[in-house]
């Protein structure tokens, strides 16, 4: 098993595309996302009742990167680019992977 870092970003569904672009630019080889609801400083949001316009939906995005510094750089850039205007949180977790080359560019 090899050490790696998991990035997690929970933010507004409408910016999924641009956030994943930043993640890929930051050096991740892939990402996974799931529809989510939640509550934070900007009030309740919902995956099932995202409002008729959909702007009230959340998404949870995860990416495994080999290098912890890279992981931190990615969440810092997402945070700086979007979290002033959009709802969102970001954190990292240590994980262990089987096939290290799968997560290296």
């Amino acid at each position: 098993m090899y050490q790696a870092t998991k990035i997690v970003i929970i933010t507004e569904r409408t910016i999924l595309d641009v956030v994943t672009k930043l993640i890929e630019q930051g050096g991740a080889t892939g990402y996974t996302h799931v529809e989510a609801g939640g509550k934070g400083s900007r009030g309740v949001r919902s995956a099932i009742r995202p409002g008729i316009s959909g702007v009230m939906a959340n998404v949870k995005i995860e990416a495994i990167v080999r290098d912890k510094a890279k992981a931190e750089a990615i969440i810092t850039s997402v945070s700086e680019a979007y979290f002033q205007n959009y709802s969102g949180i970001a954190y990292v977790e240590p994980v262990e992977i089987l096939r290290p080359n799968k997560f290296e560019v």
Binding site: E12, T14, I15, D17, V18, K21, L22, R42, G43, I48, R49, P50, G51, I52, S53, G54, V55, M56, S77, S79, E80, A81, Y82, Q84, N85, Y86
Partner: protein
């Protein structure tokens, strides 16, 4: 005394109309805390079907319409959309607790068109046997796109001006990828990018698809045997949804300035007058019908609640969605729907329907 009784009776009988009654029923359910919900995929599909119905119907009529008859109300619709944004943006931005960008975003939504409100007014005219031009649905994108583009462009220009004044700018802003594509540096590129985003939005695409199919294909049989038949029933369900949605979004307004409440309640009436006046003018020039005047007033009075908000969220990230979604979906739409009978009465008074 008699007049008051008359008005009250008239009001009650209006509220009993299926369209309005379902809207009120939806608000009542939500206010009562009911757990009833129409699943998201279902209401997305209902909205799609109604937009296709409006688009196909308009497209089929456009085939037979002459160009002047079409062009005059189209230009009028676009101008009304722009006027609402200019007027509404000015007004709102002056009120306490409203930022420039939030004012523009909100006015943009109110200048744009609500598919549900437009469909409701068509159903009410049909019910009363009031005729209107078949191509009216084709005016929707003119008003909608004109309003959204105006609002976004003005808000961005004003932000740029402010940023130029205040050189330091916002930290990190530079790193952000712009949401949506094609937004370049020059203003022309900016407008192109916004237009592209607007045309790609779900509601405008569905409407334009319907229009194109109506004009270039021969969908008359399937239009009559399916889209038109289901129209009234699906609309009743959409009204229920809009009622529940309005109640749910009202709570957003607790977080924002009181000014939005006043705007949400009054703007539909004022904007409706803009649309109504434009309609009368078109009536003078091209003989536009009384029903057409009503529909132009309703489009102006209505505010976008499906397609507009995500477009604005992408194009104006600094605007607070609680303000504009709360004001439009929470107040603007129910007020616009409930005031449809008003425009019918006025049209009858002014030119007969």
């Amino acid at each position: 005394m008699d007049m008051i009784t008359d008005i009250l009776t008239g009001f009650v009988s209006q509220m009993q109309k299926p369209t309005l009654a379902f809207l009120i029923g939806g608000m009542a359910l939500a206010a009562f805390g009911s757990k009833l919900e129409i699943p998201e995929p279902v209401y997305k599909f209902i909205v799609f079907l109604l937009l296709m119905k409006v688009g196909l119907g308009a497209g089929i009529s456009v085939r037979a319409a002459d160009i002047v008859e079409l062009a005059v109300p189209a230009v009028a619709a676009a101008l009304v959309g722009i006027a609402i944004v200019l007027f509404g943006g000015q007004t709102l931005a002056r009120l306490r607790g409203v930022t420039q960008v939030d004012a523009m975003a909100t006015a943009g939504l109110f200048g744009a068109v609500s598919a549900s409100t437009l469909a409701a007014s068509m159903a009410m005219l049909d019910e009363e046997g009031i005729a209107y031009e078949g191509f009216i649905g084709a005016l929707y994108p003119f008003m909608d796109i004109a309003a959204l583009v105006t609002a976004i462009v003005l808000a961005r220009l004003s932000a740029e001006r402010k940023a130029a004044a205040n050189i330091s700018g916002q930290p990190g802003g530079a790193a952000a990828l712009t949401v949506g594509e094609g937004h370049g540096n020059s203003n022309a590129q900016m407008v192109r990018g916004i237009l592209l985003d607007t045309f790609r939005s779900a509601a405008i695409s569905a409407l334009l698809l319907g229009l194109a199919l109506g004009i270039f294909a021969r969908p008359d049989s399937v239009y009559e045997s399916f889209y038109d038949i289901l129209f009234r029933g699906l609309l009743s369900i959409l009204m229920l949804i809009m009622g529940m949605e309005a109640w749910a979004r009202l709570s957003e307004l607790r977080r924002v300035a009181h000014a939005y409440v006043a705007y949400g309640l009054l703007a539909p009436l004022v904007h409706g007058v803009f649309g109504f006046a434009a309609g009368l003018f078109v009536h003078q020039i091209t003989g536009f019908s009384g029903g057409g005047v009503v529909l132009l007033a309703v489009m102006a009075a209505s505010s976008s609640d499906i397609s507009g908000p995500p477009t604005l969220r992408g194009a104006l990230p600094e605007a607070n969605p609680s303000s504009y979604v709360g004001t439009s979906t929470g107040l603007g739409t129910p007020v616009a729907i409930l005031s449809i009978p008003l425009w019918i009465i006025l049209a009858d008074m002014f030119i007969g329907v």
